[in-house]
Amino acid sequence: MDLGLLERRSQHEWHVPQHDAMRVPAVIYASEALMRAMDHKVYEQAVNVATLPGIVRAAYVMPDAHWGYGFPIGGVAAFDPAEGGVISAGGVGYDISCGVRCMHTGLQRADIMKVQAKLAAELYRRIPAGVGSTGAMRLSDLEMDEMLMGGAKWAVDRGYGMPEDLERIEERGQMRDARPENVSAQAKKRQRDEMGTLGSGNHYLEVQNVTAVFDEEIARLYGVQRNDVVVTIHCGSRGLGHQIGTEFLKRMAMAARQHGITLPDRELACAPIVSDLGQDYLGAMRAAINCALANREILTHLVRGVFKQVLPMATLPLLYDVSHNTCKVEEHRANGGTRKLYVHRKGATRAFGPGHPDIPSPLRAAGQPVLIGGSMGTASYVLAGTEESESRSFSSACHGAGRAVSRHQAMKTWNGRQVVDELAARGILIKSPSMRGVAEEAPNAYKDVSAVIDAADAAGLARKVARLEPIICVKG
C-alpha cells in the first residue's frame, strides 16, 4: 500500500481522510511493516465502504486485512438505520458466522504426545471434513427450521453438547430474531446433510498447546495456563450460509438502484436496513448464525466423544465461541450519545471490553475472549477485549493471520506431502484428505500471525493473553 495516501496518527493507526464520495474517513490499524505489505485493494475497498449510506464514525480495517469482496476481509463498519443505514451481504461474507471456538481439556502436552497418532486418527475418522463429506444427521423440514431458530441451544436440547456450553457462546448460543422462512429451499437443501461437518479450505480442528501466557491475570480468569492443551474448531454455517450469501448478494446488487444507492463496486451490494430486502436478509443471516452455532456445537460433541474414548480423563468444557463474519445490532457510543448500530464484521472479531453485560459472568472482568486462528504450522492466539476498542473500532479486533500468498501461487510453490512431513518432524500431525489442499494452506502462505497480534495489541484493539501452537490438525 502506498503510505503517502494516508495520515499516520500513531504508531499503529493510519487514516484516509474523508474525500470525494466518502461520508466518513477510513481508519486502518497496523504496523508500518504490515501496512507496506497490505494490498492497495484494501485501501480502495475501505474507501468504497466509507461511501455507503448511514455509515457511522469510520470504515475500520484490522491489521490482518486483505482484499475481499466489496468490503475488505478484516473490515468493520457500523450503520445507523435512522440515517438511512444499510446492511450488506458482502459485508458479512459467504461463510456467515464463520468463527472459532476453544475448549479446555485439563490435559498437558505430555498426555497428548503419548497417544498423539491414535488421537489424530480418531479425530480424522469421526469429524466429517473435506469436499463431499456429510454428517450423521438428516434434518426434516421442521427440524431444519427448529435448528435455524435454536442454534447451539437446539443442538444441546437434542443431546449434542452440554447445557453449560451455552453461556460461553455469543448470544448464549441462540441468535434472536432469526427468520427461517426467509431462508430459501435451496439453502436448506444444501444444509440437509451438512450438520456437524467441518468444511474445507482454511477450516480446521486443532489440538493445541499453550506455549506462552502474556497476561497472567486474564489467563487465570480464562482458565488457561502455560503447557495446557486446548481444542480449537474453526468453521461456519456450511452450505446454508454460502447459499444465503450468494442469493442475497445478487438480490441486493440488482435492487441497489431502486433503493437509490449508487454502488462504486457491485460487490458492495447492500439494502437499506429498513427496507423489505434488508429485513429479509437480516432474518436469513441470523438463521445462518444459528446454523453455524449449532454446527460448532455438534462438532464439539463429536470431539468430546473421541476424547472420551482415547483420553477419558478429559472433560472439555468450553472456553468461548466467537464468530468473525456477522452483522450484529449493538449499542455503541457515537455522536455524543448511545445508539443502536448494525455492526458488520467481515473477518473481524467482536472484542467487548471488561464489564460488558454480554460477556459470561466468570469472564466479564477480564473482557471478552477474542479467539484468533493461525495457520497449521504457526500459532493461534487468545486475546481479551479492551475498554479502548469501543472508541477505536466499535469493539472489534482481527480474526487471523491473513493470507500472504494466493491459493493459486501456494499450490504451485509448495508440495502438500512435504508440508505434512516437515510439520511431522516438528511434532505436528496433519490429517487431510487432500495434499493439494494442504499445499494451499501451507504455513508460509499466511502472514506472520505474531506480527498481526502484536499490532492488534499495540493498537489497543485487544490485549494479548496466550499463544497456542498446534499438536494435531485436521483439515478439510
Binding site: Y69, Y94, G132, T134, G239, Q243, T246, K250, D265, G437
Partner: protein, 142 residues
C-alpha cells in the same frame, strides 16, 4: 491473454481466494471453459468421469450476472449432489443459458478434492470479447 478463440481455461490470483477464467470461440464456449476452471479449483477436471448428466438452466439481465448464475448453479449441484463435474455444455441466447454438467459422485480416496467452493463472487466478474474469441471470468470464494 494469448489466443482467445481456442477453448481453454485457467486460474488466476486473488489474495484470499482464486479466479476462474474460460476462453472460447463463442460466449457459450467461454462459459463452458469457465465451468471447467471452477472444477479446476477443486481438482484436475480430467480426473472426473462423466457418469451422470445434470441439466442446468439459468437466466440473468446481463452476461456477467449470467456467468455468476451459471457458476453458482454448478456449485449448488456439486454441493447438494456431492458430485464433481468434468464436462460441460452451455448454450446462451437472449440472457438465458441452457446447459448440462457431466460428472460423478465425489470419491475422496480417488479425487483428493482440494477445497469446496462456497460461491461465485462479483469480484473481477467480466464477460467480453478477446481477439477473435470470448472470455468469461470471476473470483470464487473457497
Amino acid at each position: 491473454m494469448g489466443d482467445c478463440a481456442t477453448g481453454r481455461w485457467e486460474l488466476y490470483d486473488h489474495e484470499a481466494d482464486i479466479g476462474v477464467r474460460g476462453f472460447g470461440a463463442s460466449k457459450s464456449e467461454a462459459f463452458e471453459q469457465a465451468a471447467l476452471a471452477l472444477t479446476g479449483v477443486v481438482l484436475d477436471p480430467a480426473l472426473v468421469e462423466s457418469h451422470e448428466r445434470i441439466a442446468i438452466q439459468c437466466e440473468a439481465p446481463d452476461d456477467e450476472f449470467l456467468l455468476a448464475e451459471w457458476l453458482n448453479a454448478i456449485i449448488y449441484e456439486m454441493s447438494t449432489r456431492k458430485m464433481l463435474f468434468g464436462n460441460f455444455r452451455a448454450l446462451i441466447g437472449d440472457h438465458r443459458l441452457t446447459g448440462e454438467a457431466w460428472g460423478e459422485a465425489v470419491d475422496p480416496a480417488r479425487h483428493h478434492p482440494a477445497v469446496e467452493v462456497k460461491g461465485a463472487t462479483f469480484t473481477t466478474l467480466r464477460v467480453g470479447r478477446c481477439g477473435d474469441g470470448w472470455f468469461a471470468q470471476t473470483v470464487v470464494d473457497v
